[in-house]
């Protein structure tokens, strides 16, 4: 019987035939910590008797949730982590580079066939580069920092086969919101989701990242796309390595296969307060909004901001809406700047902030008052996610966010 990509990654890493359902202590190729989960991971590392991390070259540290420090306790956490990085000789990207997941991929710190863990649930995004990547808690991370390995229950794989050509102003975010609505918030718990099919093989890295990022919103342990030309092209200049074949066998055993067609897909919006509530935009068009957030690890890349700018055209944002735009990383910021889009957004009335998690963190800035409504390109719309538990968050694509920011109500991006 053939094997899935995930089974192949674990089998190759451990030299054997490892199958879904087996529990294995596997070595990791990378371990990422940030300013929220990092301090506790370091504390646990010491409590476990750790003195030197397993390999400083494989530990990735950066700050993105509360930057620049938004409180004295946040500043203290940063100091604590900087000290640890210096003592352990870990490269710390500090507050300078952007949102952790974007930075890990940009810097080539995740590659096809690797096993990466991150103390953040959206670590599953690195599956866009053909890695097996999963989010873990701080105590598990303390264990990883000490031993360089972790117990994994090898997940089964749900294969999402996607076909068709995206209509204008419909893209990866609309697809993943529609897949989440189909699979459900816990429909993929403990499993991996492999995104496959002709649509995915034509999808750019930015779109693949958006899809893999949100695998966790269905409970999945990982999201993954088989590395292909597009992946290996992306790895060039980021990581010195030769390409190699890595894909699920045709006769691999999948938990289930699901088919999706995008040709007739409408822009999707997930309504409060769960991510698996995606509906066509027409169902919620006209809903009043107070704030629009375009950014996050899900949709803060240049391609996302470029699409938002295209929708904006020569128009202005509605002055009654607070429009917050945050490129996901310094590289993405510079690309956006070079294309002249930062100036365009600012002139249209937006606040453009330095790369960080922004309102998606729900504690730093851009919070909602009771009764307020946010339309956001991020990944979660839980009650209280962006401030007051009496606020509401709708999720959508950058195109829908930009169109709605112009009109002040949720709007189909094909109509502006």
């Amino acid at each position: 019987m053939g094997a899935t990509i995930v089974e192949k990654i674990f089998s190759k890493k451990c030299g054997g035939d490892i199958r879904a359902g087996e529990v294995v202590m596997a070595p990791v190729d990378g371990a990422m910590i940030h300013d929220i989960t990092g301090p506790l991971a370091i504390q646990k590392f010491y409590e476990m008797g750790g003195s030197k991390v397993f390999d400083p070259k494989h530990v990735i540290m950066l700050f993105d949730h509360q930057i620049p420090a938004d409180s004295i306790p946040a500043a203290e956490n940063h100091v604590y982590m900087r000290k640890f990085a210096a003592e352990q000789q870990i490269h710390n990207y500090d507050i300078n580079e952007g949102v952790c997941h974007q930075v890990v991929l940009e810097k080539g710190r995740a590659a096809p066939g690797e096993i990466i863990v991150g103390a953040d649930s959206h670590t599953c995004m690195y599956g866009a580069a053909g890695a097996f990547a999963t989010g873990i808690g701080s105590t598990d991370m303390g264990f990883v920092l000490k031993f360089g390995a972790l117990y994994f229950k090898v997940p089964g794989t749900i294969r999402a086969e996607v076909s068709g050509k995206f209509p204008k102003r419909v893209g990866a975010k609309d697809l993943i919101l529609s897949i989440a609505a189909d699979i459900g918030a816990d429909g993929a718990t403990y499993e991996a989701i492999e995104f496959a099919g002709k649509t995915i093989s034509k999808l750019d890295m930015a779109g693949r990242m958006t899809c893999c990022n949100m695998a966790i919103e269905m409970g999945a342990k990982a999201g993954i796309v088989a590395p292909d030309k597009i992946t290996w092209e992306y790895m060039k200049g980021r990581r010195k390595m030769k390409s190699f074949p890595l894909e699920s066998d045709d006769d691999a055993s999948f938990v289930t296969k699901r088919s999706y067609t995008v040709s007739d897909m409408e822009p999707q919006v997930a309504v409060p307060h769960n991510v698996d509530t995606g509906v066509p935009v027409s169902r919620v068009a006209g809903t009043h909004i107070d704030q629009v957030f375009i950014g996050s690890c899900t949709n803060g890349r240049f391609e996302d901001l470029e699409e938002a700018a295209e929708v904006l055209g020569r128009k202005k944002f509605n002055p009654k809406v607070r429009v917050i735009i945050i490129p996901a990383s310094r590289d993405e910021y510079l690309k956006t700047l070079k294309a002249g889009l930062i100036g365009k957004f600012v002139k249209a009335g937006a606040l453009v902030e330095a790369p960080c998690c922004g309102p998606c963190m729900g504690g730093a800035f851009g919070l909602l008052a009771p009764g307020e409504v946010s339309l956001s390109t991020s990944n979660r719309n839980f009650k209280g996610r962006q401030g007051s538990t009496e606020g509401k968050v709708y999720l959508c694509s950058p195109a829908t966010a930009a169109a709605s920011a112009i009109t002040g109500i949720i709007t189909d991006p094909r109509e502006v």
Binding site: E22, P27, Q43, S121, I136, G137, F147, T189, T389
Partner: protein
């Protein structure tokens, strides 16, 4: 010991909102547990109380602040129809026991509850409900009292050895 009953998809933002994540002390976190979701919890939860919920408890973030906030409130057991993966592991690692029970709809808020893990039974207001066993490979961590205790005296780990099928 009373039951604090919650519904489906209780996410980590509900258990502990994002604005309190610079706190790591369980007692301090407990002051904000379920803030804005169920405000009487932090005031009235007592040592030994049990949280009972529906499907997908603990979905969302990897923040360990969530099980720590429960510990701070005195809750060391969560009974749910199912758990989100990261929360399940975090809970075991820090010493909160996640118990799977498919019939939590038969357990009412405020019920007096006792748990008999060995017999695999919960008794809530006199009604007996069956619970599932914890996966075998996690039992060692539970027996040790959490992952820190489990890992403390280990110098290395058996890399690439399989555990249980």
């Amino acid at each position: 010991m009373r039951v604090w009953k919650f519904g489906d998809d209780i996410d980590t933002d509900a258990i502990i909102p994002g604005r309190f994540l610079t706190i790591y002390d369980p007692k301090e976190l407990a002051k904000h547990a379920f803030e804005g979701t169920r405000d009487d919890f932090s005031k009235k939860a007592k040592e030994g109380d049990i949280v009972v919920a529906g499907r997908n408890f603990g979905c969302g973030s990897s923040r360990e602040h969530a099980p720590l906030a429960l510990i701070g409130a005195g809750v060391k057991v969560v009974v749910a129809q199912s758990f989100a993966r990261i929360f399940f592991r975090n809970a075991i690692n820090v010493g909160v026991l996640p118990v799977v029970c498919h019939k939590t709809d038969q357990i009412a808020d405020g019920a007096k509850i006792t748990l008999n893990i060995r017999k695999g039974i919960i008794e809530a207001d006199g009604k007996k409900v069956k619970i599932e066993q914890v996966p075998e490979f996690m039992q060692g961590i539970i027996d040790a009292g959490g992952l820190v205790e489990y890992a403390k005296n280990m110098k290395e780990v058996p890399v690439c050895t399989k555990s249980h099928r």
